[in-house]
Symmetry: C2
Subunit: 208 residues, 2 copies
């Protein structure tokens, strides 16, 4: 079965792309097989159901993201705040091509199944949580290097993810990716302001 | 036909609630009729199709939001920046109850139909645009009263909407509305920082 990993991989990639464009419910197993160039027999060799496929796709999405962000250029910055701001700029650069190409498989699917399919929702939430954990590490190191900044890394990571997810919604609404990049620019400005030296806090250190 | 507006209204309300919980594709006309207590015959008296229903629901959603925000308590603040920050606090207060109760009909539907149903997508985008226009007015007045703040009201309105839409996604992922309120708290802080008097810019006004 030398071709098994390849057809499985093609099925997962096709699922991710079709769901990002058309949503989870609108994506039929037949569409996934056609896009992947895989027979339905082969599909059921890999996955027992469409639900199982969607859950595996959430795992594949998480792995793909982990690889992209583990090799990302911003990690080379020596200062931790530059790495965090570099992450935001990198997210902005990833907003290219058509809406479905930069949209998030996990966020899109969660919107659709959050009440109706807890297993798929939780698999997608786990993919987002994996990314949040990486992001929290970036923020924690920036906070250590900038002790004057008061922020909770967990909630800031959530906020950063929310801006990115919401930016995708705005791009889809406007049919214009510039609606998304404008939101990411505000996120970048927020982090700069949050980590900017506060004259008020600094003045407290000077004896009056 | 004295009861016509009432059954139409019930159908639109049921659509909004069911789509917020289950998504657009998963919501069947039969479900809407059952939730509204309206016969299928009566449904087709009001709407030619499920698409027409979804488009009308986007209009109803826009009207409902316009009413809520036209009467909102934050409008009583004398200072324009307090009205803008009051808007953000008000959005935070609206995050109550179950996820579907505070989620956005327009944002949820756009995620699902952005590629597959342009007519519904554009009706939902128009609802969001209506809200953005109101928000832009709040921001423009805050910028007039705070001329040192450099920001584009159109992109800031988009960003505020993105944070709110993304906050809903995070609450659905985490099954915890505190994930959403944490994001709104960061948005509040961003606006405070953005409008805070800048010591650097002020110092430029002092002749050196």
């Amino acid at each position: 079965m030398a071709d098994a990993p390849t057809s499985r991989h093609r099925l997962l990639s096709a699922t991710i792309d079709l769901v990002r464009a058309n949503g989870y419910l609108a994506t039929r197993v037949d569409d996934v097989c056609a896009a992947a160039g895989v027979t339905k027999g082969s599909f059921f060799h890999h996955f027992a159901s469409k639900d199982e496929l969607a859950i595996a796709a959430a795992g594949a999405w998480n792995e793909r993201a982990a690889q992209v962000f583990a090799q990302a250029p911003y990690l080379l910055h020596p200062r931790s705040l530059d790495r965090l701001l570099g992450y935001v700029k990198f997210r902005r650069q990833l907003i290219a091509g058509e809406n479905w190409e930069f949209s998030c498989y996990a966020g899109t699917t969660i919107q659709e199944v959050h009440e109706t399919n807890p297993a798929i929702r939780d698999a997608c939430a786990a993919a987002i949580d994996g990314h949040l954990e990486m992001l929290r590490g970036l923020i924690d190191r920036a906070l250590v290097e900038n002790p004057d900044t008061e922020a909770d890394s967990g909630s800031l990571a959530l906020h950063i993810q929310a801006v990115i997810q919401g930016a995708f919604v705005m791009a889809k609404a406007r049919q214009d990716r510039r609606a998304a990049t404008a939101c990411i620019d505000h996120l970048h400005r927020y982090i700069e302001l949050l980590f900017a030296p506060s004259p008020r806090r600094k003045s407290r250190k000077v004896p009056s």
